[in-house]
Symmetry: C2
Subunit: 83 residues, 2 copies
Amino acid sequence: MALFLDIHRNVEGITPEGLAEAHKKDVEVQQKHGVTFKNYWYSADEKAIFCLCEAPNKEAAAAVHAEAHGGVADEIIEVTEGH
Amino acid sequence: MALFLDIHRNVEGITPEGLAEAHKKDVEVQQKHGVTFKNYWYSADEKAIFCLCEAPNKEAAAAVHAEAHGGVADEIIEVTEGH
């Protein structure tokens, strides 16, 4: 299992409630893709969302957002967590 | 206190050891700027580093990297953590 940070930019109309709803939909479908969304961070002012997930590969991470709500990331980067 | 995600792109020569050393230097100077670095994630292939910190403001977050090792971020985004 690998760790991915996905980056959404230029997202109009970010609200905490809208993101919580989208995240809930991600969580509902993630298991069948072998993905676990761990955290997300956002800025409405900067129109940016960052999601951290564990996934078998980049395609699986992308598939969760695509199926859950269609709000796919602009970039998905496989990352290592520092210590 | 606010939460900031800083983004470093096009960073040449990322190694786990080099980042751990830079992070150690951040931690050594962060207190006098009122900053706490919490986590970081990186991709050597994508030449990208993402650091999450608590700071009183964006300038303080930037000042830690500047003083510790000079590797300042390309972007610093004030973020809210989702739940």
